[in-house]
Every structure is written in structure tokens, then in C-alpha cells.
Symmetry: C2
Subunit: 237 residues, 2 copies
């Protein structure tokens, strides 16, 4: 497989960076090709703006997705976006590797999503969920957080972590057609011992060694809905 790891942490010596390195090492040892986008090291610009487009469908009024459609078609996206998009299209597996900030991605990574998952290529019209532009590829979210595992779950204080990550797992990754694997979670990371961190790294290595065998999370399929996207029969999603 070709694997793209998008890494976003402001501290180069962080445990999140150790997870990134563990992934590179493990996946390469399995014969996979691995590329890393280290967003802080790249000084990635996360702000979606008119400057992202070399030509304009409408120079007077910016509809971001509309300009994405035209500029991705004509290959006139800003160079930093095109470079990341090329890596994404090359990859069979996308790993997003980050510390949870406010139950979601750090802004620098949100801006990678906003700018790189371009309309026209990654999705558009009825091309989303299982029909999304990146279908056939997989995604894994690898996160660290301060919270403890018992704070998440059906009756826990924050509810299930997967529910907090819903706009990312379902609304972003599954939306563009990726098969979303269950997240890998490093709990309570700022407060645990070096031994417990090693245990997380080992568990991550084992997870990655079997990555091709893992079942993705189930999400809606467009065939469950009519042309206007009303459900064909009662379902719970």
C-alpha cells in the first residue's frame, strides 16, 4: 500500500510524533510506501481563501467549493494544495495523526481538510459517502488526548468518543468515500508513565501490522436513499 500520514503537533518531541514514527517504521517494515506531511514543520497555511485559486469562476464573489471544482479540473489550485492533493490521490491509506483539541482536530489540520479535500475530485453532487471520490481508499485516525478512557462511552461524562469525532469520521472521511477504520486512541497521554507510553506504541504497532484485516465502520450508502436523498425505508444511521 501507499500510505500518507498527515501529522499535526506543535511539539516535535511529542508522544504523537512517536506514534507517527512508529507508523512509518512498522508500515515500511511491512513493505508499504510511506509519505509524511508534517503540517507544523511545513508551516502549512490552514486558511481557506480566494488566494487558493489561480483562476476564478466568479472573481466578484467567492463560493469556495465552486472555485475548488474549477481549479481542480484545470489544475490551477495553489501549489501547496495541489502538492497535498497529489499525495492524497497517490495514497491507498490516509492516517491522520494528531492530539485532540476540543474533541476535534487542531486548526492546522482542519485547514488541511478544508483546503485539500477539494470539491470536484473528492466529492461533488451525488458523489459522497460510498460514492465519494476517494472510494476504494482507507482512512485511520490516530489520536492522543488528556481524558481517561472511562470518561467516554454511552453513559460516560463525554459520551462515546466516536460520537465526538463524528464530523471527522463520518462527515469528512466517510463522506469522501474512504473506508474508515476504528480510531487508535492514546488515552490520558500527558499524565501517564513512560512504560504506559511504550505499551501504547506496542499496541499501535500490532494494530498497524494487521491493518489490512481490519473492518471499517459502517456508514450510510446512497442506495438506501432516493434521488432527493430521502430514506427509501426507515433506517437508523
Amino acid at each position: 500500500m501507499n500510505v500518507l500520514i498527515v501529522h499535526a503537533h506543535p511539539e516535535p518531541k511529542s508522544f504523537t510524533a512517536a506514534l507517527r514514527d512508529q507508523a512509518v517504521e512498522t508500515l515500511q517494515a511491512q513493505g508499504h510506501q510511506v509519505r509524511v506531511s508534517d503540517l507544523y514543520a511545513m508551516n502549512w497555511n490552514p486558511v481557506a481563501s480566494a488566494e487558493d485559486f489561480c483562476v476564478r469562476e466568479n472573481p466578484e464573489y467567492l463560493v469556495y467549493a465552486l472555485e475548488q471544482r474549477r481549479n481542480s479540473k484545470e489544475q490551477t489550485l495553489a501549489a501547496d494544495i495541489q502538492q497535498e492533493l497529489d499525495k492524497l490521490l497517490w495514497a491507498d491509506l490516509l492516517i491522520l495523526n494528531f492530539p485532540i483539541y476540543w474533541f476535534s482536530t487542531p486548526a492546522i489540520l482542519k485547514g488541511w481538510i478544508d483546503r485539500v479535500l477539494v470539491s470536484g475530485i473528492c466529492y461533488g453532487g451525488k458523489r459522497f459517502y460510498d460514492q465519494g471520490g476517494l472510494s476504494g481508499k482507507k482512512a485511520l485516525v490516530t489520536v492522543t488526548l488528556g481524558g481517561r478512557e472511562h470518561m467516554f462511552g454511552e453513559e460516560a461524562i463525554h459520551g462515546p468518543l466516536e460520537d465526538m469525532l463524528r464530523p471527522l469520521l463520518r462527515g469528512t472521511l466517510a463522506y469522501v468515500g474512504l473506508e474508515v477504520l476504528p480510531p487508535f486512541v492514546g488515552w490520558h497521554v500527558p499524565y501517564i508513565s513512560a512504560e504506559d507510553r511504550q505499551a501504547f506504541l506496542l499496541s499501535y504497532r500490532q494494530r498497524l501490522e494487521n491493518i489490512e484485516a481490519h473492518e471499517p465502520i459502517q456508514y450510510p450508502r446512497l442506495s438506501q436513499f432516493d434521488d432527493r436523498l430521502y430514506p427509501l425505508q426507515p433506517i437508523t444511521l
Copy 2:
């Protein structure tokens, strides 16, 4: 009331900007004080980094929340953060006004959240949810999106919009103690007529004229949990 509107849209003539202007006008007419942070116009930096801190608890290894705690206490946060934090602490009502990007905030606004909602003031230790540092204040999320209303709901293709917005409504705004009002949603905005847009503006005005009467969404209270944050009795949250 003192009202802070944080606005994030790359197009100054956008309908989202019209909603901002409607809010300013309506709230001022009711005698409220209103300030606006227009993040694109301010060229707001959304990237959390070591540069956000004038002093360091640990200059060798960045734990962002830890440095927030020390620097907010000593008033040594970067000037752009301190300025926004002062506005936030002045406000009785925070309005986040933005177009939905990937079922969440644009990165520039996510970076306002990451950098301004500082540990030590807005939350910390057991000071979260109803015990959060901003308790007593209210929050309203005002969004525009491309999707149609029937695409959201229990059996709809994307599920309930409130579930997609969960990390923002519950994991961020309710987490820091804000009373979160039901979101105001402008559906299908890029595709609707000028008349339909006017109808949204009117409906928003009516909503804002009654803002003090609205009931907040119910979220967990710390008194439902023990000292280790295990639930005291079975609950569904």
C-alpha cells in the same frame, strides 16, 4: 447584554456576513452592546504554537494547555490571544457566525477556539460543563450550509445536525460552561433565491429579538458524576 460575534467567512459579501450585520443591527436596537471579531478581516492566526506564550513553564517541551494556564495567569499570552480573551470575558453572549465546512467550523475559527479558550480561565481540572470557567454566559451558533434540511434528522442521510455539531456545541461551548442555545441554521444557502434569503434574515431577527427567553440545550452536570467522573447512576447523556 454584552455580545461578542465571532465571524468567519472568506467572502465579505456573503450571506453569512448579512447574518452578522442583521445580528449587530437587531441586538443594538434592543439596547445591547455588540462587538465583532471578523477573523478573515483581522487576518487571525489560527495555529496554536509555542509563539503564543511570552514565558514558558517548560521551554524544552510544549504542553499547550499547561503553558496556557501559566501565561493566562501571568497575563503573558500573545497579544492577539489576550485581546480576544478580553472580549470573550466581557461578553454575556457569544455568537459564532460561520459557514459549515466539513460539518464543523472553518479552520480559522477552529484556531480561535484552540488559542482563545485558554486552560486556567475557561476550564481546568474539574471546572468544566456546568462548572466551566465561562458559566453564566450564553452561546449561540449561527451557521449557513449547502445541504437541505431534509438531509438532517434521525433517519436522514447525515443524521441530526446537532450530532454533527456535537464537538462544538457540547465538547467546546458547553464544556467551558456556556449555556448553549439551539443553533440558527440557514439551509441550502448557495442555491436559494434572494427572497428565501430575506426570509432567513427575518427569522433570524425574530430569533434574536427574543434571545433572552430561549432555553439552552441540556448537557451533563458534574453533580451527576463521582470524583473520578464515573456516573453516580445510570444515565443517558
